[in-house]
Symmetry: C2
Subunit: 471 residues, 2 copies
């Protein structure tokens, strides 16, 4: 189906990108064969890694790849959790790491222009220096813009501020064969033809290589407050979420997290969470340009939850206290990663979280598994961890993977099916990539998958771009 | 290319929809040959109009159409301004008027489920009765959901609340050939495969017939205030807009409107606008759940604009006063429609409005035209009216269309090119439809148009769905 990389192709790649940016040594390319997914498929090694420095170079590489029929796997920060940047068919890995410029801060339009290889961390720093704010925060700040756009990354602030998709106004994309297009622009409204912009967002590098983006930013909300609210059960915690929205309050984030993973993460970081009461905690962040408004919101939330089963309410009102809470919340995955087999990112309608969480508990019990779960209660996106460990007396106790893996797989499929039955999907923010593609049909109608394949075939007839992904 | 409707097809259509819902008499079908565009192309008459009552009937009609190779033009409320629902190739007009049910108000997820033939007016009434609020308001309340989604309709509140696209969470779509799919769902996050949802939104009925939608609603902001701010020039008015945003205030709407059209509309409606000072007025609407916050915002806006050239500031703080202002603003088009040849909906980056408006003035002068303009200063979407009239002493004086039409056409093309040069597009909210398709290449790169055509070809190989539109 594809051709192998030969000396002539290497010579052409060197002519395009320069000797230093064409890597072929085993040691140099090994780091380009995986992402942050825990159980990597072995043997997904690229034949060559190229690091273009400009859109023109990306275009020349895609032209060369099409002429020689070799696959191209675009790669950003490698922080993905679905194997989206893993080269399953060898060929070229196209690393965007050198295209990392912050090109423009357009103050009047409140939009930034960036190259695809700029990291989230660098971007946040740059826009904050200019007095602006970028609401979405999908976990790892080493993520690059191209990758975040390609997976339509989310994060915990989506409930109020939306996901990456809502902040991308324009793109520069190199198509299969090398043509460069610029869908969208510095525009707030656009009804001019099909929305190609939104088609590329979330297409995981299979329809084109994103080289630049126009990113909406906003004025920073002046005041923030973080509440930690312990409950005795997951149902009680989750049942409180719609009650908050019914008060007309849209929090920036509403997360739920079990006391088990909080305690493991406290130990891991040597930091303190404000409470050890109950079993499951809601973490609620509210923001506003007015401090009075903020007090009104936190008071209203406290009243509602205390009437509906909350054990207590803690408000972190200083920056130091808030940072501690947020640090613990953001490092949970790191604290349990060593024994994690997979982190799911199922998304269900918000109202279906309690039902789905009951299913998680039932499945965990039936298969004798520890499935610690936390997630975005405000937007229905739940991170269930498939663990090769038990949780005993505040400790994570490893279990042999071989012994447990069939049960984990059975549990995964039951949970995917339960999500689908509730109108949910198997990926809310990580993408399908390599590691979820066998489950796509559990989530989407055959007609939708068929339509996606037709679009892929129409735009990349040779299947050069990121083959082996999504479907 | 297409076949004509014959007796056998009519018989089959009657078997699907019933005798009463298959119209063929000249008088009955005449009303289905145009929309709200002023200069309709003559002769765009359907051969038959069908009014299906269910998704199954729509599916059966599309299957029949494909088998017989006859074109299908979906039609909503007929309130479009680009000829999107006009049947240029005869065939079947598929009117969604009978599929007008409000199916569900899901309070926990704050989402409604509607059929495509429900009108905006009916929808607003239904959700407000339930205590919810639907932010987008694209002008005509007779617009139906299917049509608003197919054109990605906008309106004046987009600057804070976004356009229709931002509120559609899921769709039911019947594809060419009759297959039914359900992209999206009651979901806030979704990274599961290509985003088909966003591809259908704005595709103007050329990729599928929308039969149902899941629509996000929100809690009503409790307080609203409308400000009217006169300036002596359009530049001064527009230059104040970014200054408001820089204060961290995101108004619900920021509109600019000339005193000429305000006065014509006052006469037309026999209502009073709060001021006749200056030449161009900004209308700013702010909303907040807190009345204190609202006062803070209106005070800050007043301070900024009075420092930067505003002649005065009027705050409509009672509902009656606000309604009067909004009524006048929303009826401008009606007041001047009689002599309007076309209403453009160019969208440019917000920062480019002053430059583009200077071009409008220059073009009007050079071609001796009256081009009254108002628009969404907050989002860059400008409605320039091509008029067959002069404005003299507060009156609209008709001019012969034949005498003026070449100059109007030259002006239109210059303005489209100017918008493109500023990073803008020819349609911000009305869509391309029939009447803007000859100008698409002034707005989009050839590579983008080619990509759109490939998608169309892949999903509707016979070109049955709404032929002759967009490209």
């Amino acid at each position: 189906m594809f051709n192998k990389i030969n000396d002539s192709i290497i010579k052409d790649l060197i002519a395009i990108c320069g000797q230093n940016n064409v890597l072929t040594c085993r040691e140099e390319i090994a780091g380009y064969s995986y992402d942050e997914y825990v159980n990597q498929l072995p043997g997904c090694v690229p034949e060559v890694v190229v690091r273009p420095g400009s859109t023109e170079e990306v275009s020349a590489i895609l032209k060369l790849a099409e002429e020689n029929r070799v696959p191209v796997t675009p790669r950003g920060g490698g922080t993905g959790l679905a194997g989206g940047c893993v080269p399953v068919h060898g060929g070229i890995v196209l690393s965007m790491q050198r295209m990392n410029r912050f090109l423009e801060m357009d103050r009047k339009n409140q939009m930034a222009v960036v190259e695809a290889g700029l990291t989230l961390g660098e971007f946040i720093q740059a826009v904050e220096k200019e007095g602006f704010y970028f609401p979405p925060h999908p976990g790892d700040e080493g993520a690059m813009f191209g990758g975040m756009i390609a997976t339509n990354a989310g994060g915990s602030r989506a409930v109020k501020y939306g996901v990456i998709r809502n902040y991308i106004r324009g793109l520069e994309v190199v198509l299969s064969g090398g043509q460069v297009i610029h869908p969208g622009g510095k525009l707030i409204k656009n009804s001019t033809g099909y929305n190609l912009l939104h088609l590329f967002i979330g297409s995981e590098g299979t329809l084109g290589v994103i080289t630049r983006a126009i990113v909406q930013v906003m004025t920073r909300p002046t005041f923030l407050r973080t509440m930690v609210i312990p409950f005795n059960s997951i149902e009680q915690a989750i049942d409180n979420v719609p009650l908050i929205f019914e008060k007309g309050i849209v929090p920036m984030a509403v997360e739920f997290v079990g006391l088990d993973v909080i305690q493991l993460t406290e130990k891991h970081l040597n930091l303190n969470w404000p409470s050890h009461q109950g079993e499951v905690h809601l973490m609620v962040i509210v923001d506003s340009p007015s401090e009075d408004d903020l007090s009104r919101m936190t008071d209203q939330i406290a009243d509602v939850v205390l009437e509906n089963g909350a054990v207590d309410v803690f408000v972190a009102d200083t920056k130091a206290k808030q940072d501690e809470v947020l640090k613990i919340r953001s490092e949970i995955y790191e604290a349990i990663k060593k024994e994690t087999v997979d982190i799911l990112d199922i998304c269900v309608p918000r109202s279906e979280i309690p039902g789905h969480m009951r299913k998680v508990q039932e499945v965990a019990q039936r298969y004798d598994l520890w499935l610690p779960s936390f997630g975005h209660a405000g937007d229905g996106n739940i991170h269930i961890h498939l663990m090769k460990a038990r949780y005993e007396k505040g400790q994570m106790v490893p279990v042999s993977y071989e012994e447990i893996k069939d049960r984990l797989e059975a549990a995964r499929q039951e949970l995917f099916k339960d999500a689908a039955a509730r109108g949910g999907v198997i990926s809310g923010e990580h993408g399908i990539g390599l590691y979820k593609k066998n489950y796509l049909s559990l989530s989407l109608e055959a007609g939708q998958i068929e339509m996606m394949k037709r679009i892929k075939q129409a735009l990349d007839p040779q299947g050069i771009l990121n083959p082996g992904k999504i479907f």
